[in-house]
């Protein structure tokens, strides 16, 4: 089985963010970097599948030199090889450009299954996984919280609104995007950390894979303006409830 998992290196969300000098993204200095949380579920599931079927698992990541640290974690979790798509300006690319680069790499390589995270913690567009599938002309199943593979068929559970789960069955090849609750990513063992240092980690220049143009342009990013604080409703429960309903009706679009 040929498996691919796509990961992104994102800043730790506890970092203090500042706008970069060019105003187009956040300042990347003084940040702690880590694997995108949703991609961790993808790596874990891909490794579990690899262990189950004895397949070959490649981890792909786009970004500057520093993303290799995060790729080493994926290798230590169990990926066989890594492909680093070197791009110092990956943060300026829109989801379509990112998806195109990945599809350009994956096209023709006949991956049976591609795992991605549902979304990235910094940009959060929720588009890259689905777009990659479209560009490769393979089905995509998103926000999976359960995964099973048996007799050539993939069975997943998707998380929908209101806690409802949908059960979906597909053939191969397929791309899945992973959601919180899918699994608990393993902590790399020391022998695996050691082995990871020797695993193949190829670097490909992004320019080699960049064929499509962008579809979005970031004009500016800025912090939301700080508004006034919250409103504290006090008194009898019934009157609070009435006042709350009134506020929701008048001030928000929650109650149509």
């Amino acid at each position: 089985m040929k498996l691919l998992v796509c990961i992104k290196q994102v800043p730790d969300m506890e970092s203090k963010f500042k706008i970069a000098a060019d105003g187009l993204w956040y300042d990347r200095s003084d940040l702690a970097w880590r694997m995108n949380e949703y991609d961790e579920y993808g790596v874990e599931q891909a490794v579990q599948l690899k262990e189950q079927t004895g397949g070959d698992l490649t981890v792909l990541c786009i970004g500057p030199e520093r993303v290799k640290e995060t790729m080493k974690k994926a290798l230590a979790m169990g990926c066989d090889r890594g492909v680093h798509i070197a791009d110092d300006a990956s943060h300026l690319k829109d989801p379509f450009e990112i998806a195109s680069i990945i599809a350009e790499f994956a096209g023709g390589k006949d991956f049976d299954l591609i795992f991605t995270g549902m979304q990235s913690q910094d940009r959060g567009s929720v588009q890259v996984g689905v777009m990659v599938a479209e560009l490769l002309n393979i089905p995509a199943v998103t926000t999976i919280v359960d995964f099973a593979f048996a007799a050539g068929k993939v069975t997943v559970k998707r998380e929908l609104e209101g806690g409802i789960k949908a059960r979906v069955e597909t053939d191969l090849p397929v791309l899945v995007t992973c959601q919180l609750g899918l699994n608990t990513p393993r902590y790399p063992t020391l022998p695996n950390i050691m082995k990871a240092k020797k695993k193949e980690l190829l670097t490909v220049a992004a320019t080699d894979l960049y064929k499509a143009g962008g579809l979005q342009e970031t004009v500016k990013i800025e912090f939301p303006v700080k508004k006034s604080g919250g409103l504290f409703l006090e008194g009898e429960v019934e009157s609070i409830a009435d006042r709350l309903i009134g506020i929701l009706r008048e001030k928000t679009a929650v109650l149509a």
Binding site: D12, A32, W33, R34, Y187, L190, P191, M194
Partner: protein, 660 residues
């Protein structure tokens, strides 16, 4: 009359006595040797460990500990009983030895008799009193074991054999003496020098001489057989502790207190890390099970055991010994139990009190190393998350690393990157950097330093966790990563003097980091501040107040620092009402051993138990010297509902408030 006695009286000193006697003795010693050699084979299942350096010092230490019973006497009741029993039995052993030397050597070959006159009188009375003391102490120990029955004291078949055999040896000894004196010494002045024998002799006075002679001879041989049985049985019963516990003292860890072994992570040959089986431990770890006498002093002091967690340090040691002797390939971690392994706080109360030099903590950490490094297992998801945060942000709290120095805002303290001209580097630690309650302690410390005219620098965002909680949890790889980075940063700045306000940072930088190349002076804050007060550089107002004080495990048992904090409290006017469990007997706050990262899910809360001990002093103020303790006590007073009546504070806060 001559003050002496005929050795071998009524027994005969010819070949009919000597040959069987020596043959039996040879047999007994052969069994002893065989038994111990077999056990040696079991010890050798473990990995190598060098414990024979400085042999003279080790031997001297062993003799002192053995003969003065120093470690045994640390616990008074049974300790005194055992010590007196030991001295009594030892004197009887020496006495018998002297008889052998005279009867079978000096008298036999050189006609030289020294057991006569004044020397014999002293010899006689000493041995009688020694024997009496030994019997009384042994009866006391017997009553403790079978009547008083202290909770947690395991009694096995071994103990029946030991008490029975020793009593039989001692009692027959006196009856033999009594029988002899009934025939040869009654009414003579010499008899007064054997008071116990005399009493027995008098009670036998009516018996016919033929019966006395027969009784004497029969009991003499019986006593010989019992004594040789005692020797032969040694390797197979708890009697072995005479040799193994003494050897344990010889083989004790003479390195820095509590220092763990540093795994060589560069070693590409290493296939496995930590201990999954007894064969992964060292020979000393397996030997420790033999040195252990199940005295349960460790178990009695274990904070986890005291709060119904499944950990008993004594049982961990015993399990290792059992597996090594029977099934060395069995999974050790399953046998000891994960809950037990994760419950340890590395407080060292067990190891500190152990009279046999057993090393409990290292074994537990080795098993944790296996769980973490080979299985990626932790006691809970919250611990795995904390480890990941340590990797990403250099602190287990999940705070952004770039804001690490922000606690010092407004205090005029610069990071080394901004100003490298400093008197001392303050290694702040994760809690004082990011935890609101402990930031107050860091700020107090800076206030004190400024008052003393000390220019303090901090590493700010260059500082990472010292790695100690990770190390104690078994994550040696993460610890070494963090340590190596910290050391490179410190060396890069040419740091010569470091002060900490966290005993865990202090202990780690001062001991563990030496293995990885750190070479500068490291002080903990009570030591540093006490020095400033003594030099007159720091003046505190001595208006009287009452308080109690908690000796943290990592300044206390791990570093022997009990006095400096008390000097500071006294200088500040504190009338210290000590808790019953203080100094080396202090009861852990529960956060050591990396457990600050974990949730306490089993048994009852250790921290609540400790704050209740503090509350019992009626002082209203609990002084501490450690951010983990402070955190646990703040939580504890809430949990025990005594927030209003008991205030936990750090010594630095106390002093800063009382600055003149």
């Amino acid at each position: 009359m001559e003050f002496t006695r005929e050795i071998y009286w009524n027994i005969g000193h010819g070949p009919a006595t000597v040959v069987p006697m020596y043959l039996l003795a040879a047999a007994a010693f052969a069994v002893l040797a065989y038994g111990f050699l077999r056990r040696l084979k079991t010890y050798r299942l473990g990995k190598p460990m060098h414990r024979t350096d400085r042999p003279l010092a080790r031997f001297g230490g062993m003799l002192r500990t053995m003969l003065l019973q120093t470690r045994v006497l640390r616990v008074k009741g049974p300790g005194v009983a055992h010590a007196v029993f030991f001295w009594g039995f030892f004197l009887l052993f020496l006495g018998t030895g002297l008889i052998v030397v005279q009867a079978d050597f000096t008298d036999l070959f050189f006609d030289y008799v020294f057991l006569k006159g004044t020397f014999y009188k002293i010899f006689s009375i000493t041995l009688d009193l020694a024997g009496l003391a030994a019997i009384l102490m042994l009866l006391g120990l017997l009553v403790r074991r079978w009547v008083v029955r202290p909770p947690g004291l395991e009694t096995r078949m071994d103990d029946f054999v030991m008490h029975g055999l020793l009593l039989a040896i001692l009692l027959t000894g006196f009856v033999i003496e009594g029988a002899r004196m009934a025939v040869t010494e009654l009414g003579t002045p010499l008899a007064l020098w054997s008071p116990v024998g005399l009493a027995i002799g008098r009670s036998l006075a009516g018996t016919s001489p033929e019966l006395l002679l027969a009784m004497h001879k029969g009991l003499w041989w019986f006593h010989l057989v019992l004594a040789l049985l005692f020797i032969g049985l040694m390797p197979f019963t708890k009697f072995r502790h005479i040799l193994t516990t003494s050897a344990g003292t010889f083989l004790a860890d003479r390195g820095p207190v509590g220092k763990l072994t540093t795994i060589d992570l560069e070693n590409e040959e290493a296939e496995s890390f930590g201990a999954a089986k007894v064969t992964d431990l060292t020979w000393k770890d397996i030997f420790d099970a033999d040195a252990c006498t199940l005295c349960k002093r460790c178990q009695d002091r274990c904070p986890a055991h005291a709060t119904d967690k499944p950990l008993s340090p004594m049982q961990v040691v015993q399990r290792i010994g059992e597996l090594a002797a029977e099934t060395p390939q069995t999974d050790l971690i399953d046998a000891v139990g994960r809950d037990a392994i994760w419950s340890c706080t590395t407080c060292r109360a067990c190891q500190d009190i152990c009279p046999a030099g057993v090393e409990h903590v290292g074994k537990i950490v080795e098993m944790r190393r296996n769980l973490v490094l080979m299985e990626g297992e932790f006691p809970g998801e919250e611990v795995m998350t904390a480890m990941e945060q340590l990797e990403v942000n250099g602190n287990p709290l999940g705070m952004g690393y770039a804001s690490r120095g922000e606690w010092a805002e407004g205090l005029g303290v610069k990071s080394l990157a901004e100003d490298a001209e400093i008197d001392i580097l303050y290694f702040v630690g994760c809690y004082a950097s990011f935890d609101k309650r402990n930031i107050a302690v860091a700020r107090s410390f800076i206030t004190l330093c400024r008052a003393a005219g000390i220019k303090v620098g901090i590493l700010g965002k260059e500082e990472k966790c010292c790695g100690e909680p990770a190390r104690k949890m078994g994550n040696e790889y993460l610890y070494q990563s963090l340590a190596t980075e910290n050391i490179a940063t410190l060396q890069g700045h040419g740091i010569k003097k470091i002060v900490t306000t966290c005993p865990h940072c202090f202990n780690t930088l001062n001991k563990d980091y030496r293995d990885l190349g750190l070479d500068c002076r490291v002080q903990s804050h009570p030591e540093f501040l006490a020095g400033l007060v003594a030099e007159g550089r720091l003046a505190v107002d001595g208006e009287p107040f009452v308080c109690t004080y908690h000796d943290s495990c990592y300044l206390g048992r791990h570093n022997g620092m009990y006095d400096a904090p008390r000097e500071l409290i006294a200088a500040a006017g504190g009338k210290l009402v000590e808790m019953t469990k203080n100094r080396d007997q202090a009861f852990c706050c529960s956060a050591g051993g990396g457990r600050i990262l974990a949730e306490e899910k089993l048994g009852t809360r250790i921290n609540i138990k400790r704050v209740e001990m503090a509350a019992a002093t009626g002082t209203g103020q609990l002084l501490a010297n450690c951010p983990f303790c402070l955190t646990m006590f703040e939580d504890g007073v809430k949990g025990a509902n005594i927030e209003e009546s008991m205030k936990p504070r750090d010594i630095a806060e106390l002093l800063a408030e009382r600055l003149q």
